[in-house]
């Protein structure tokens, strides 16, 4: 508004100091954006979890298999709308470095229970009809240049065939997309039948079940019911909502949240000092000028507001620069994290933190400015 020229000029009184403080804040917010983005990225899987789905794994560990026979029993439970299953194939393409996320599934069941995976009907049909058929994610297809009709060999690190080899051949019959989460377009699905017939051990088992419930509010009960089916059997199960499952998995990777919080706390602590010091210095230097403003008729409160607004202007400008930089650099982390875009919520958080920073560093000098006695200040 009309006070802007005054605020802006006040900031640039000491060019070097303002630039350095600005850059310090920008750097801090760049870090904030990146780290919180990482944090949010990890939590995204949890956020995007579907409330209608439960995951049933062996109660021993995720890595133990479950009998295929369990499927019919789970499906028969009241409240269950559908059941699908998947297993961990664990292959690489040509070189151990090229790991591929691959899962043998039953096409109709799996794509039915994951409606967010968009696959044209004809391709789904081709998948069902082709024994060696494979449906791959759009991102994966782009990465290796695979097209429909290509023959792709994968080497499984786990599953060997009776002849002792671990090389499996597939024909790409479809490409799926996931518009709701572009980071999840890198899977390689193929037919469970081909898998089970081809492997030399653990036949007749699956890795885990996915259960769709009719009413999400009944999730807990249905989960308990599933586990009750197999309690006291050699293959006890653990069923939880998709969200809980993702959360538990993340927890195993470590308390990323905590580490990020610690680092950011440390950074902003240092920043508070730096910015606070700058604001204090700035006000101290401008005591005569602030006194003059008061002689002109600016009230004590308006002088306080002016100082706070200066702080706000500095912090918001710097934070904006830092957050924009983070937003621009973030997609570069795609490969390490699987997150594509800096979530908007992080930017909003950043702005809030910037305002807080401005207030905390500005309030003390602003208060001093308010309480400035004109006569004393002019005399000095």
């Amino acid at each position: 508004m009309k006070y802007f020229p005054l605020l802006w000029a006040a900031l640039w009184r000491k060019k070097a100091r303002t630039i350095f403080t600005l850059l310090s804040i920008t750097v801090a917010f760049l870090l904030f954006g990146m780290l919180q983005g990482v944090n949010a990225g990890f939590n995204q899987a949890v956020e995007k979890a579907n409330v209608n789905r439960l995951i049933t794994t062996s109660s021993i560990a995720l890595t133990e298999n479950l009998p295929y026979g369990d499927l019919a029993q789970i499906e028969a439970l009241p409240g269950v709308a559908g059941v699908a299953h998947a297993s961990w194939f664990g292959p690489y393409y040509q070189d151990p470095k090229n790991f591929v996320f691959s899962f043998p599934v039953e096409p109709e069941r799996y794509f039915g229970i994951y409606p967010e995976l968009i696959l044209p009907k004809e391709q789904l049909q081709a998948f069902i009809n082709t024994r060696t058929g494979a449906v791959i994610g759009a991102d994966l297809a782009r990465k290796y240049g695979w097209k429909i009709g290509d023959r792709v060999p994968l080497h499984s690190t786990i599953w060997t065939k009776p002849d002792g080899t671990s090389d499996w051949n597939f024909d790409v019959v479809g490409i799926y997309e996931n518009p709701t989460d572009r980071a999840q377009e890198n899977a390689f699905f193929f037919n469970y039948k081909y898998f089970d017939e081809g492997r030399s051990f653990s036949k007749g088992t699956v890795g885990w079940y996915i259960v769709r419930v009719k009413d999400p509010t009944q999730s807990a009960q249905i989960a308990a019911a599933v586990d009750k089916l197999f309690a006291n059997s050699p293959d006890e199960t653990k069923t939880e909502t998709e969200k809980e499952f993702q959360q538990a998995f993340l927890k195993q990777i470590g308390d990323i949240n905590m580490i990020v919080t610690y680092i950011l706390f440390a950074v902003f602590f240092a920043l508070l000092f730096a910015t606070g010091s700058t604001m204090m210095q700035s006000v101290r230097e401008r005591v005569p000028e602030l006194a003059v403003l008061k002689t002109l008729g600016f009230s004590d409160t308006s002088v306080l507001t002016l100082v706070l607004c200066e702080s706000l202007l500095l912090c918001l400008l710097a934070a904006a620069l830092g957050l924009i930089a983070a937003w621009a650099l973030f997609p570069g982390l795609k490969d390490t994290l699987g997150v594509v875009k800096l979530p908007t919520v992080v930017i909003v958080e950043g702005v809030v933190v910037a305002v807080l920073l401005a207030f905390i560093t500005g309030i003390f000098p602003a208060w001093r400015a308010k309480r400035l006695d004109i006569v004393e200040a002019l005399r000095g």
Partner: protein, 392 residues
């Protein structure tokens, strides 16, 4: 010049208490940067230490060819015998190979810290396991008996998980097991595991395939020949690796990530700290422009002025670096961190703030200080004496 420098420097340093506020900016900015850098690198050091201390140059681990980790490997019983009988393997007093054909299973147990379940390795080991791994010592309880459902728990696993104290019962696949002893093995990867008799574990999981064979060689030099023998055997498809190499490869991914974190985050923080230092030093120089000008007018050389600014910046940075390094050591040294390891199970490792790291941290601090002092020092030297005196 030296006398001049000392004179100006001591004058500057004595003036620091008047500029506590801005001086603290450098100290804290650098302290924080060094603390974060050192702690993250301590994670790297700890993790590497855990994995690299697992294994000896004369021990070899054999997996099925093409399997990246034990969990995905399968070896038939016949093959394990051939692997253990191949020449180069050390024999005990009775002429039996010091080797162990093993399997690993993953079991989910509740963690002490969070209460939620995490994966832990249950390793079935052969009869000669104790001789194979002399670094494993029982510190409480007793060894498990063969053919009985008993387990010993590693020290790290004990601190991390609930329900694995001596005397506890764990059940999986309808079998009930008792923890009868606790072992330590110098903080290596095995300390995060539970161990039991191989045949008993195999039958509990209804498996008949082993996952790895670990053998002790006659000497580390026997490796090349041993590997050759196995890889040229037409009945075997195996990967033969020295233990240290195997474990080093496992940590590569996490190492990369942690290093990225350390230098990425640390680097950015360092840049921020440099700006903070520049700010402080510029303001220091500007606040004392009158004094500096007076000194120059009297006859002190520009060089002395430059050095004095540098010394001040360095000193403050040093203090910051020491505080940061000390903080990292105090708060994090010895802390345990656990994360997902190669077998999809938790690996526990201890943050190790090594003296080397402390020194690196302090060096970083000094680098920041020098960079932060450079331009202000030049500015101080180039101060137009007359203008500065007049401004008084």
């Amino acid at each position: 010049m030296f006398k001049q420098t000392t004179a100006i420097t001591s004058m500057n340093l004595r003036a620091i208490p008047q500029r506590m506020g801005t001086s603290w900016v450098i100290v804290i900015g650098i302290a924080v940067t060094v603390a974060v850098l050192v702690s993250v690198l301590a994670m790297v050091a700890g993790f590497s230490k855990t994995l690299s201390s697992t294994g000896r140059a004369d021990r070899v681990i054999v997996l099925r060819g093409g399997s990246v980790a034990e969990l995905s490997s399968t070896i038939s019983r016949d093959n394990t015998i051939n692997i253990m009988d191949a020449p180069g393997v050390k024999k005990d007093a009775e002429g039996k190979p010091i080797a162990s054909a093993e399997m690993v299973a993953v079991v989910a147990l509740p963690q002490r810290k969070t209460g939620t379940a995490a994966n832990v390795t249950v390793r079935g080991v052969g009869a000669k396991a104790a001789e194979l791994r002399p670094e494993i010592h029982l510190v409480a309880g007793r060894m498990f008996q063969p053919a009985v459902r008993e387990l010993i728990v590693g020290r790290s696993a004990l601190t991390q998980f609930k329900g694995v104290d001596i005397g506890s019962h764990i059940s999986f696949r309808n079998t009930d097991w008792t923890v009868v002893g606790e072992f330590e093995s110098g903080g290596d990867a095995h300390e995060s595991e539970l161990m039991g008799d191989i045949e008993t574990v195999l039958s509990a999981f209804r498996r008949n395939l082993f996952q790895s064979v670990t053998v002790m060689l006659d000497s580390p030099d026997a490796f090349a020949q041993y590997k050759d023998k196995l890889t040229t055997d037409p009945t075997l498809t195996v990967d033969v690796q020295r233990e240290p190499d195997y474990y080093a490869a496992q940590s590569k991914q996490l190492n990369k990530l942690l290093n990225f974190l350390a230098f990425g985050v640390g680097g950015i923080m360092a840049i921020g700290a440099i700006f903070g230092a520049l700010n402080t030093m510029y303001s220091a120089v500007s606040a004392r422009s009158l004094e500096i000008a007076t000194l120059r007018a009297i006859g002190f050389g520009a060089g002395a002025v430059v050095v004095s600014v540098f010394v001040e910046a360095l000193l403050l940075s040093l203090v910051g670096g020491l505080i940061g390094a000390a903080a990292a050591w105090l708060f994090f040294n010895g802390n345990t961190v656990n994360t997902l390891g190669a077998n999809f199970t938790q690996v526990v490792f201890h943050l190790t703030v090594t003296p080397q790291l402390l020194v690196s941290g302090i060096i970083w601090a000094c680098v920041i200080g020098v960079l932060g002092g450079l331009f202000p020092a030049i500015r101080a030297a180039r101060l137009p004496v007359a203008t500065a005196l007049r401004a008084a």
